[in-house]
């Protein structure tokens, strides 16, 4: 998990909020309505990834989580598979209001953007065959392709132990993009290998 600077002011509600993250000692009550509205604002403000907006809302604006709690929860959400920000909204929602809170938070996150995207989908069905629309979408797809490539490049630069782990990056690419093998099989196979390598490395590093 990338460590983030913990330079955020303490929330005014819990003056003696203890650091350590994720422990659940009676946080100040947040209602389902607030959860819904808070995550709605996150959902519709994010273009191409909403995580930075989620952090700002949770930690800086509404003070629902301390910086450490945010990092700890995000660590869990990135550790488990699935859509990371949706997982984060479920974790925060259920922390305050159980299942109802989880549903309120995740509905808020997806509700607004879903309506917008379905509206665009309607337009696409009506006008998508026009040459102008086809050209426009090809342009956006080309930019999307470049953004994905740039993101992957940046992530590759940030990898630890490149000589040990870049071969796994290459192997995934070949298996998924060139051979078109099913990803569940590829992931289970390669994750057990790369996880095993990581385990051996960490054990050796820990040994005196």
């Amino acid at each position: 998990m990338p460590s983030r600077p913990a330079t955020v002011s303490m929330p005014e509600t819990g003056a003696q909020e203890q650091p350590g993250g994720g422990g659940g000692n009676s946080p100040a009550p947040v209602t389902c309505r607030q959860l819904f509205l808070g995550f709605s604002s996150v959902g519709i403000s994010g273009f191409g990834g909403v995580l930075p907006f989620a952090r700002r809302m949770l930690v800086e604006e509404r003070c629902w989580l301390t910086a450490e709690e945010f990092n700890s929860l995000l660590g869990l959400c990135q550790f488990l598979p699935g859509p990371n920000v949706a997982n984060l909204s479920i974790a925060v929602g259920s922390r305050y209001q159980g299942i109802r809170g989880a549903v309120a938070a995740v509905t808020g996150l997806f509700g607004g953007p879903l309506l917008i995207v379905l509206l665009l989908g309607l337009l696409y069905d009506r006008y998508g065959q026009l040459p102008q629309a086809q050209g426009l979408l090809r342009g956006v797809a080309a930019v999307g392709c470049g953004l994905l490539f740039g993101t992957a490049w940046r992530m590759a630069l940030a990898l630890k132990l490149k000589r040990l782990f870049l071969p796994f990056t290459l192997a995934v690419f070949v298996a998924v993009a060139v051979l078109r093998w099913p990803m569940p099989v590829v992931m289970v196979g390669l994750l057990s290998l790369s996880g095993g390598v990581a385990y051996a490395y960490l054990r050796r590093k820990a040994a005196p």
Binding site: A86, A91, L114, V140, V143, G150, F168, G195
Partner: protein, 173 residues
């Protein structure tokens, strides 16, 4: 009804191996939705990706859009629930126990080992989107310039998307 159940099940299965977020899952979505199930063709898949990219919201929204194109509003809901429910339940159950296994050696090993795989998946996503969009020389140059701009400048991606839309509208891609 069978189609809705299938949409739900396919995306639930997909997101159980979605390490690295929804973008890392694009290659597998393409494999299942286009190559295996023939729900969409290459061009439509790329167009839906482009629409989701240009709209606000979490990256996973492309899933809702695919579901909608395949089976209308019920399809969008089925696909979205498939994306959210299985791992959402996992989070709900595990978050109370996270402090117990966070930092354990096996947990650190998985985290260290999964990162290079996620990078490979996103490279694969870039490759396959470029391929199924059938980018010509103009499109390839635009994609390359976008990647350089993302890495070397602080421009907001939304501007790049706008420029891409304009270039496409003018027929350069």
């Amino acid at each position: 009804m069978m189609l809705l159940a299938d949409l739900f099940f396919q995306f639930a299965l997909l997101f159980c191996v979605a390490f690295g977020g929804a973008s890392a899952l694009l290659p597998e979505m393409h494999r299942v939705v286009v190559l295996e199930k023939h729900w969409l063709d290459d061009a439509t898949f790329t167009h839906l990706y482009a629409i989701a990219q240009a709209a606000p919201g979490p990256n996973g929204l492309v899933v809702s859009l695919i579901g909608w194109e395949v089976a209308g509003v019920p399809g969008a809901l089925a696909a979205s629930l498939g994306m959210i429910l299985p791992t959402g339940i996992m989070i709900y159950v595990l978050m109370r126990h996270w402090h117990r296994f966070a930092g354990a050696r096996w947990q650190q090993s998985v985290q260290l080992g999964v990162a290079p795989l996620a990078v490979g998946l996103i490279f694969a996503a870039a490759f396959l989107i470029g391929q199924s969009a059938g980018l010509g020389w103009g499109g390839t140059i635009l994609a390359a310039l976008t990647a350089v701009a993302l890495l070397k400048t602080k421009w907001h991606p939304l501007w790049l998307i706008g420029l891409g839309a304009l270039a496409g509208l003018l027929g350069w891609v």
